[in-house]
């Protein structure tokens, strides 16, 4: 992490106004915002820790736990909500054994909710990494997750 942060900081001047871009770049690089990274950003930008954390927790784009290999976003936008997003979320949570904003113990899946992915016509929908899956039912959602899990297993076997 140390090296990655140094490389990021090298591109900034270390001013208070740079906190958000610093957080963004760090998350891009590390996948999430570890506590130590936020402290380093505070030191570097001359900004108190409380400020870094306040900003980071205000924006939903920042996360504080690593994302899984498969990052699942359940849409809770208006269209999806009307078409049963809550049930989909509940189902996905049960299937994966984690709640919103958590990551499975094996690091394979992480779960997050978002407001509108922009394909309301397909509501209710979820994304797994960059793939959108629409017109979901509980059953279909299970299939999507199963497929992802299968792919993961396969990769592992291929690796062997």
């Amino acid at each position: 992490m140390e090296e990655q942060l140094s490389a990021i900081f090298a591109r900034f001047r270390g001013t208070a106004g740079e906190v958000i871009p610093l957080l963004q770049k760090t998350q891009e690089e590390l996948g999430f915002l570890p506590e130590e990274a936020m402290r380093r950003i505070g030191d570097f930008a001359g900004v108190p820790f409380s400020k870094v954390y306040g900003v980071a927790t205000f924006y939903t784009m920042f996360r504080f736990t690593p994302v899984g290999k498969y990052h699942v976003c359940v849409c809770r936008g208006t269209a999806c909500h009307v078409r049963g997003a809550d049930q989909i979320l509940e189902h996905v949570e049960r299937e994966l054994g984690i709640s919103e904003n958590e990551t499975t113990g094996d690091g394979e899946f992480s779960l997050e909710t978002v407001a509108c992915i922009g394909c309301c016509a397909l509501a209710p929908c979820i994304t797994v990494n960059s793939d959108v899956h629409g017109r979901l039912t509980s059953k279909k959602a299970s299939q999507v997750l199963k497929k992802a899990r299968g792919a993961a297993l396969k990769e592992e076997e291929d690796g062997k």
Binding site: M38, R39, F49, S50, Y53, G54, T57
Partner: protein
Amino acid sequence: METNVEKVKITIDGKEVLVDPGISILEAARQNGIHIPTLCHHPALSSWGGCRICVVEVDGSPKLAASCVTPVRVGVVVVTSNERIIESRRTILEFLFAERNHNCMICAQSGDCELQKLAYELQVDHLTVPALFDEFPTDITSAYLAIDHNRCILCGRCVRACQEISGARVLNFNNRGPHNLIGLDLSETREASTCLNCGVCMQVCPTGAIYDRYRTHYAVKGHDTAWQTTESLCPQCGLMCPAIFSVHDNTVLKIDGKLEADDSRPDRGQLCYKGRFEVLKTIGKRLTRPMLRNGDGTLAEESWEKALDLTADRLRAATRAKKGAAIAGLASSMHSNEALVFFRDLMGRGLGAGCIDTLDGAHFRIVHRAWAGLDMPLKEASWKMIPEADHILIVGADPYQTQPIVSSLIRRTIFENRTKVSVIGQQADLFPFAAHHLPLKEGDASLLIKALLDEATDCGTDDVKMAQAAELVRKLCLSETDAAVFHDIARTVSEASNPLFITVAGLITAADDSGFNSLVHLSRLKGLLPGSTLRLIILKPFGNSSGAWKLGLASEAEPGSKGQATACVLFLAGEQVSDPDLLERLTGLDFLVVISPYIPESLADMADVLIPCPLWIEEDGTYTSLDGTETGYKKKVIEPPSGVRDSWQILSALAERTGFRPGFDTWNDVCKAAQKEMGG
């Protein structure tokens, strides 16, 4: 002198008034005796305009305006109260009550809560919206103050106070929407965070969300209208912070900082954990009656007359038996100048004591010796200089322990001015913010400062000196990283144009004080401050160390160098004695009398007489500032426990019984004597 600003004519509640331009409608109303309720607004803080309880009608506009953030305009017509306004305020208040748990009956703040008062004022006696609150966490990890998020109304006063007054910038809003919470640092517990426990956030919190862990439940102590307040100062460290004591039933309920104080003090009216909280703590059992050692070796209560008679007899006998050195007088530097002057004269002129010293005499002797070799009077810099410095070097001192406001001022300067701070030694609470941190190994101080002196004053110019410095650094066996930090500190010192050095006498052992001398030289080489003042702040261990030292209470010679005393008068001010050297000095005496507010636990087997005296909140007296230049009057806040006499009365009675005429017959006389000696 004041430039004549054109006043602005406005109309509030039908009344035409002239007000200063640029002020808020709220201020204008208050100046004219019109009440507008507020919650997120606090006069000592910047305005935020977040809660909207202060709404008023401006020029009949259908949209109500938050008066705390709306500036006055020429000719504006303001209505501060009508049905629509009251309704709007009531709704806001109801939402606040519904949002979190405000069960006043079991809240420690009940009786002194702005939210509660507003509910009474606006007659909110039930909620028309369902109470939807979740359960939020409570953090009681600090020994001083707790935060119960269930009582928080997210007004943000604490966040602003921590930033603007304390300067520690520990607090902020975390998350958003219904998950919005006040958080410390990266959402840590108070103990794990960088909070300084100054309690400013607690003072400005309008609810019971941030509360005092020492305090008696207000509900038990009655409503705040029944209390008296006394404005005085905190004498505990030499910074003499103005403090407002709320008292009921002869009990101190809380101590507030004077936030709206003038700007002569850069601390902006904060108090520290000692001034705000530790006063409320008792550190032992109070002594309320004199005690004498009986034939069977136990201590038993005795009348004042008997105790004073016996003490006087024994002291006189000791003097007779062994001329001169027989008696030692030892005082705490927490006493007022008046008590100290009287004690000094009674012991010296009255009883011919061979040794008069203070509990912090060792510190004094180090400073004194360092000065003896110099050709200038000891003039230390004031802590008020801190915000102006461009570099602060702390050597061995730990202001958070001794003068906590110094440490919060340093923190604020780091954030506000990006001042570079270098810490050599221990000051854990500054580590995350300091530019440099170099550990200080026991016994290395002198060498390290000498090396710093050589390297910083001749950085790159004098090859011989640089080589010397390099040699010294080698001797220190610093690790590679530490050596790099060392060189960087030296460079920062040499480049600084307005540096300040902060240290403590206790840093140097009595045997080797050359490091202290080097530091004095270093600060001298950086140029004196106006008034031939050194760029050096010497932190002292007791509240009135400067006063005691100036009054000659601390002994210049090592105690005991004039022969062993056989009797000792120990004049404590609320501390327990734990210093092994001192305990050693007190063993084997023929006679030991201890004048103390508390039963001195560690001396219970040694003392022959115990005489109760008041704590500092129970007596008047003047104190001298850390740098020795200012004097402050500390008022009595509460009465001492019944049966306890004033220090002045105790010392007078002893003078009378030993046949000594001190030259002051009244308390006023002592005050004058002390004032004269302090040069006031």
